[in-house]
Symmetry: C2
Subunit: 309 residues, 2 copies
């Protein structure tokens, strides 16, 4: 009988340019680690959080991993007490699905710890509750790819309909994250409530092109489709030197470049590791020259989702 | 040296539910026939049009096949005179891309007649001019699938970017066309100029789902994605008994059902001929019971585009 598990769950890039609220993919790194231990005491306790600079609540009702765990325990009527230790592998509010990764790790771990054999859709429904606590709305474009791995389409929220998309082997992602915090709630407020039908048509032409490009493994089509006429123009104003970073990424050979989730992380998709490394260096140079603290990640698309450590 | 060609070009279903202005596919039938003959007289002459109830102009500057031919002749600096005979295989203004089919047939035929070996993109650019004459705007969602065959995504208009999508072998289409005329120009005016971002997100979730379903050959996903929250609610009011016809289609096993182009034709996608025949009978029954004249077509998706007869 297992009494403790340690799980890694990946950070994620949501929206992916044109696919606002419907597309996301998982990274190899960064990600969060959650250790779950059975205890004699009842209920859920968050024993320790590291890597959050003391900013995250230990109260399980206010912490995404805690809320996700609570949903899971209720669903499977498990009375055993548990304690969680969370190690954040990415900055809070970085736009890399930090809250979703902790929730995904907790859910995947609990499913193993109690041998409940829940399918990923069931875990996802628990995770969505946690996202509501973290972001104010139950968005699935981080939690779904973090749990399922790979490239994910959230076709519909009501009913929830999650579709795994195929994508090329050699697809890499570069992320540059300036160390400023943009709260998701605020970043949702900058979005227009209404858009012109004409703009919407351009956007769904690109969404369709991106999905077709990924499944056909057509890098040129992926590149032509990675354009966002709606969200990026509004949100990019809050990200320091966004246009310069994007220009450098494209000039260095990126397939496309946009905002990861609600930012401030900027992602670029690239063909192959060599290209992704080169693009990362070019993007980061902008922040180096401006003395802006930042982190850089280069990663292939994570096909696996959470895993035991 | 060939002096005459006869070409069939297919009718098309544009929009395909959720893909307003970006998706279309070609039918095996109906379609238009165009015969092109070299003449001693200079210029383009439309000698005869049949199947149009005398409604189409013989003036080549006002006829889509004539405009397309004129664009082609200018592009390749061909001075030889030609005469066209057009046989319309579908009702005008039926929403099945009637004007595009005549233009596609003329362009494909001229390319053979003069051995110009133009690629389909070149032909498409000539065809778009013709569509502008017919519809008031240069939309590609009929002319592109009529020329290319298959399922086509118009990812972008500026620059023009046409993507052929793969789709399942056994995909069939049922079309029921009530014999009333809805002018495309008027049907564009009923559309909202602005839509909510929330509705746009639902729509592009479905567009992405439809493209993924077609390429994955996942009939269930195709079915779940064939929903249009924007155009169908506005235009369906002008189509007699639309809701009844759609309900019957879905109840009889159609994957989905919506308006073909700007209507009044109603199309349903089906898995296999047997299902498509059954769906056709159910849809048509509504019009039979109401004594509304109509035509019925059942067809697999046409992979080929125009062909010599």
């Amino acid at each position: 009988m297992i009494s403790e598990v340690k799980v890694f769950a990946p950070g994620t890039v949501a929206n992916v340019g044109c696919g606002f609220d419907v597309l996301g993919f998982a990274l190899q790194h960064p990600g969060d680690y959650v250790t779950i231990r059975k205890t004699d005491a009842e209920g859920i306790r968050i024993k320790k959080i590291t890597g959050d600079e003391g900013k995250l609540p230990l109260d399980p009702d206010k912490n995404t991993a805690g809320v996700a765990a609570n949903e899971f325990m209720k669903k499977f009527a498990i009375k055993t007490g548990i304690e969680l230790e969370i190690t954040k592998g990415m900055s809070l509010g970085s736009g890399l699905g930090s809250s979703a990764a902790s929730a995904a790790a907790a859910l995947f771990g609990l499913n193993r710890l109690f041998n409940t054999r829940a399918d990923k859709t069931t875990l996802l429904l628990c995770g969505l509750k946690a996202e509501k606590v973290a972001c104010g709305s139950a968005h699935a474009d981080n939690i779904a790819p973090s749990l399922l791995g790979g490239f994910v389409l959230i076709r519909s929220y009501n009913p929830l309909d999650i579709v795994s998309l195929s994508f090329p082997e050699d697809l890499f992602c570069t992320v540059v994250c300036p160390l400023i915090k943009l709260p998701t709630k605020k970043m949702r407020k900058v979005l227009p409530k209404k858009i012109s039908l004409q703009t919407a048509v351009r956007q769904w032409g690109n969404v369709a092109g991106l999905v077709a490009g990924l499944t056909k493994k057509d890098y040129d089509l992926i590149s032509r489709s990675l354009k966002d006429f709606i969200v990026e123009p509004k949100r990019s104003k809050f990200i320091p030197f966004f246009q310069q970073v994007k220009s450098r990424a494209l000039a260095s050979g990126a397939l496309g470049c946009s905002i990861s989730g609600s930012g401030p992380s900027i992602f670029a998709l690239c063909q192959g590791r060599h290209s992704a490394d080169k693009v990362a260096a070019s993007m980061a140079e902008v922040y180096k020259n401006k003395n802006i603290s930042h982190k850089i990640y280069v990663s292939s698309v994570n096909r696996e989702g959470p895993k035991l450590c």
